[in-house]
Structure formats: structure tokens, C-alpha cells
Assembly symmetry: C2
Homo-oligomer: 123 residues x 2
Amino acid sequence: MSTATAERLDATFAALADPTRRAIVARLAAGDATVTELAAPFAISQPAISKHLKVLERAGLVTRTREAQRRPCRLEAAPLRDATAWLANYRDYWGESYAQLDALLADLTADDKATPPPPDGAS
Amino acid sequence: MSTATAERLDATFAALADPTRRAIVARLAAGDATVTELAAPFAISQPAISKHLKVLERAGLVTRTREAQRRPCRLEAAPLRDATAWLANYRDYWGESYAQLDALLADLTADDKATPPPPDGAS
DNA sequence: TAGTTTCATAACCATATGGTGATGATGCCT
DNA sequence: AGGCATCATCACCATATGGTTATGAAACTA
């Protein structure tokens, strides 16, 4: 299971390394959404979104169900939890308490929630 | 600062997406190390390690000082903290308490601490 | 001075990534 | 049946990544 976990972490971190995909994750945290709904805020083509979704799916971050022609996407918690757990290994190293994370959280959410539509040239 | 943060997250998550680099991070969490020390556990060439270190350096995860011919590497906390903070945005989504992370932490450390030398075909 | 260790860089290769436009499949709605 | 919306896939392109070997620079050591 150690190798399996490592490969999952590979895919998870790689998936999160793209701002478009992080924005998709942020959007899906607010509830399921179809591909076109997810694509709407972005200036890139629909196939590009499909590719991003496939990356997220491969990482286990997203699952999809059928509903007529639409393919609603759902965010899956497990990989996010695993990634957080890996980073938590070093919480004592950088000596921050989880309580203090809430402060950073406030800052970064303000930023990131505003970033879904990347107006400038991102990615 | 929002764009700057996003780009840093890009680099940080991308850097953590490789098992060799995660192992290097794990090693550096135990204390500074030189390039040859870091390279020792791996079956790959020294230039490959140098490349990995450059990736980690670009992500701000590692800083290097000079010491004669050696270039000791030090782990930097900030990017790990930022990445954790981003993931923390979704802690209420996957409904886990930080306390529970300690359990996962125990599991995953057992795995990952044993993984630094990737014996099988990894990466 | 000559040799050795430490590390970076260059040149190269294979594969993956992120994007595009074009097309095709599927399933609703007249 | 025909049209429209949703989404995937294909073919293609440019660039990045991860690895290699070979070489070079820097600084200690004998």
C-alpha cells in the first residue's frame, strides 16, 4: 500500500499544481457542477477543461455520474485528506498550530476564491 | 499578491508531485544535508538530483548556502505552510478534524519514511 | 602542483502537459 | 426526423519534465 499511496500523492499534487484545476476544485467544493458550468469562468476551450477534468479524475479528486447528456462532477475528499496528511508530517517542523492555519486560511481564501476566472495570462 | 500566491502554489504542488522530491523534503526535515548526502539513497544520477533540487529551490522549498565545495540544503517552511493552508480550505468539506489527521499521519509516515529509496521503478 | 571531491551545466532523448480546432457521439426537445 | 446542447476524442503543436552521459568549475588535500 506504500507504493500505491505514493502514486496517488503524485497524481494528487500534480493535479493541484495547475491554477485552473485548483479553481475547479474550489468550485466543486461549493457543489456538483457540469462540464459547461465548470468551463464557463475560463477563457480556454472546452476540450482543455475536459483534459483538466480527466487529470482530476485520474487523481481521484473528481468522480462523474451520468445525467442525460450532462456529466455532473463531484469533488472527492480522500485525496485532499491524504495530501493534507502528508503535509501534516511537517507541521512540527514549521511549528505552526492548526489553529493558526485558520488565519492563513482567511487570507488565502480571499485570494483564491477571487481567482477562478483568470483574467490575465495564467497557466 | 493573489497571482503571486497562485504561482507559488503552482510551483510548490508541482515540486511535491514527485516521489524523489518528497523523499528529499522528508530527509531535509530531519536536518540540512549536502547534495551527495541527499543523492545517496537513490539509484539515479547526481545531475538528476541537482535538477530535483533546482525544482525545489524554484518553489522556495529549499535554500542553499555555500560551505567550501559543499552546498548544504535547508528546508523552508513557508511553501509547505501555504500549501497546507490552501488544502485547509476544504477541511470542512471533507469533514475531518485536524486532530484526526494525527491518525492518518501515523499511517502515512510509516509508509513514506520507508519509501525514500524507491526500489521499484518509480517516477 | 597535481589529484580528488563536490556540484553544476550542457547536450541529448523520451514522454507528459496544456493548449488549439475539428469532429463525433449521445440524448434532449420540437 | 431534424436540430440543438453537452461532452469526448482526435490530430496536432509547443514547451516542460525526468532521465542520461560527458564535461567543467571550485575548493579542499597531499
